[in-house]
Symmetry: C2
Subunit: 435 residues, 2 copies
């Protein structure tokens, strides 16, 4: 690249998969990437842009004129084009749009920009093949030939009536296997699963997983076919949602990754840490309330970490199970009372094992302090029960109010259970040791 050997670059990239070229560009300096992209054939450059990671992409785009960007976007599928426009500033976006030559493509992209990013409308593409129910196989194949220019991958062909309303689908295979005079009406399959344009992308993923779909048609309120979503886009959605949940669980409030700036990382991490600190200060106030008892029996302080840690661990386990079953909603979920009884049984069993173990260990290690050992193990038992109760119901409540329940299994539960654990511990100690 340094030698600016144009032919060499073109040749050596020939036949290399675009995803691999994109990975190479991610590694190059900005000037080098820009240089290579300008060199390449426009269609190839457009394909590579789609594969770049978002941070690199935004930087690269800033280096190009809006006219260049407009040309590339017109060579992309409408959904990828819309994604790229979403990365631009409002001013640039309007300039790029005004540069579009292809009226149809630009209308498609503008339509996509109107939908919320994380709904079916936001991830669908306008490129799909539709057949009118009145066509025969020959007409359809001709239409496929015509439409196929714009459509990268053909999955199903959607069958519509004259009002463009979705009636069903017919597979390419069936069309090939049918006699050429057969009318689409006679071979199409009415059993088609579609999603409404405003459905959340996570639910689109659930639908596609449930029915094992490779693509799903998107319809508007009047059942008019407006787009399709392919499974490779959904694969990214599933991964993103999983990453988001894991980050929510670990108390990171924004979706960040290791490559983000120090400031952005700090901002994403501080909020929940501060909430944890406030919880800690409340806990300190709480223990302070029992200062007198504590100064009489200093050993009470020894087991504070044991109680709070176990409360936290039990709470996280319980809430994780609930969060996962909420994510994989099935029509026939456990009822609230079933959940309660099962959670109670598991907690009783766990609590019993743990407190007997702790009782034994304290007696063993600290000699004949049976009463004290009893205090710790009774407190532990109660904390396990309470934490498991909290862990089960907090995500259910959050979910009811439309908040991501994964939040519950993170710092929220830990902080709440710390306080709860301390309260139980000192109350049990106070009443049993009469201090």
């Amino acid at each position: 690249i340094e030698l600016e050997n144009v032919d060499f670059i073109r040749e050596s990239l020939d036949g290399v998969n675009v995803a691999d070229i994109a990975a190479i560009l991610d590694e190059l300096t900005m000037q080098e990437s820009v240089y290579v992209l300008r060199l390449l054939e426009k269609q190839l450059a457009a394909d590579i842009l789609i594969e770049l990671d978002e941070t690199t992409l935004s930087k690269v785009l800033r280096e190009f004129e809006n006219t260049e960007i407009a040309v590339w976007i017109e060579l992309m599928d409408s959904d990828d084009g819309a994604d790229i426009l979403n990365l631009l500033s409002e001013k640039d976006r309007e300039e790029v749009i005004s540069e579009f030559q292809d009226r149809i493509k630009s209308e498609q992209i503008l339509e996509l920009l109107r939908y919320e990013e994380d709904t079916a409308g936001g991830i669908m593409a306008k490129e799909f093949i539709r057949a009118n129910k009145n066509w025969n196989v020959i007409q359809t194949i001709n239409e496929i030939r015509r439409q196929a220019e714009n459509v990268e991958k053909i999955y199903s062909i959607y069958v519509v009536n004259n009002k463009q309303q979705l009636l069903g689908r017919v597979s390419l295979k069936k069309i090939i296997l049918a006699a050429s005079e057969t009318r689409i009406e006679d071979i199409y399959d009415e059993d088609v699963v579609s999603v409404p344009v405003h459905l959340d992308q996570e639910e689109v993923a659930t639908v596609m997983r449930k029915y094992d779909l490779e693509s799903v048609p998107v319809v508007n309120a009047k059942n008019k076919l407006v787009g399709r979503i392919t499974v490779d886009d959904i694969l990214d959605v599933v991964q993103e949602e999983a990453d988001e949940d894991i980050q929510a669980m670990s108390g990171i409030s924004d979706t960040v990754d290791e490559y983000d700036s120090v400031i952005k990382l700090t901002r994403a991490r501080l909020p929940w840490l501060l909430i944890g600190i406030v919880g800690g200060l409340l806990g300190a106030g709480f223990i302070g309330f029992f200062e007198e008892g504590l100064s009489k029996v200093t050993a009470l302080a020894f087991f504070i970490p044991l109680i709070t840690a176990t409360g936290g661990n039990v709470g996280i386990q319980s809430s994780t199970l609930v969060v996962q079953s909420l994510a994989n909603k099935s029509a026939f979920d456990n009822s609230l009372s079933q959940r309660f009884i099962k959670g109670l049984l598991v907690a009783l069993l766990n609590g019993l094992v743990l407190s007997v173990f702790v009782f034994g260990m304290i007696v063993l290690l600290y000699g004949n302090e049976v009463k004290f050992a009893l205090v710790v193990s009774i407190a532990l038992f109660s904390v396990v029960l309470l934490a498991s109760f909290m862990g089960t119901f907090t995500p259910l409540v959050l979910d009811k109010f439309g908040i991501n329940p994964a939040l519950a299994s993170g710092p929220f539960i830990t902080t709440a259970n710390d306080l709860l654990g301390l309260a139980v511990y000192f109350l049990v100690a106070m009443s049993l040791l009469s201090i």
Copy 2:
């Protein structure tokens, strides 16, 4: 169903999607499900079985004769058939296999059973369409017609040489658009991504996401085409792996869900809880070591939860970020020293904000205890630094040793950081307060 109205059941299920029928069966009693499955056409029943959830499926299978199961399995894709055989006891499995009528299918299934369940071989299917490079378009379409009977969805058609080695692929679209005398050799695309049969399923998912593939051919060591994996199977893999990681993070040692038995749930949860308890007991011993100092300055006990909780939260955040970047490995990862420096900066910034806040709050709430406030905030600052260091490096080390790094961001980090936090806290207190 109670009325045993055969025609009514058949009719009302006609045209209903198999995934929906499966969901209904999940809800019925065992007798009812068995009754309905026996009523239905064999192919439909086989399709429904595939969609049942694993627990229901195992139960249902026990109600049927091995001969009945064999008939169904022969009607399934080879990968689904192999999955069902894997659910049976060894004895039943052999009986079912001996009942197979279709020699080819049974060989395919037996081959699949030989591969590890979570490798490319374990999730691939034997149903795919291959074309010899020497065929022309007409021959290929005829072959597709012949082979298509067994292949539910056609994505790409794989092109092989006479030794069945993978050369490339050609899309159905290209075949339709080509003239009928064109030889496959002249239109196929050499740029095909394949995966080796022993590749871990998680890496298969990464490959498919990277290259946006709807299906990927699987080859053996000699580059012979042995199967294909479709993206809908990978969707399940991505979801499973994400669920597994989340469970590992929350200290659940087996993959369980809310519907499992109380005993199974308890067994999955107890191990990490016990490790937490042992950590707590060690912590107790540790604090006991400073008993004298603690009895002089009881207020030290107040801030134990604050220190341990913050250590835990910081550790979990750091390790989550590392775990996620390990999961989304790219060729150009941050180097160890880059990670270290960035982690250090973020930790310094977070630590500074948190300790200044705590210092201020303690002075505000507890009056003129400046020296004591200094002890707590210095300890807190050190804990944030150490916990972030531990959180960054533990998953890297675990990953090096081939252990799932998600384990690190769970109870392991919490327990280790509790102990570390206590140590730092009391050492700082001891030296600054000279107790």
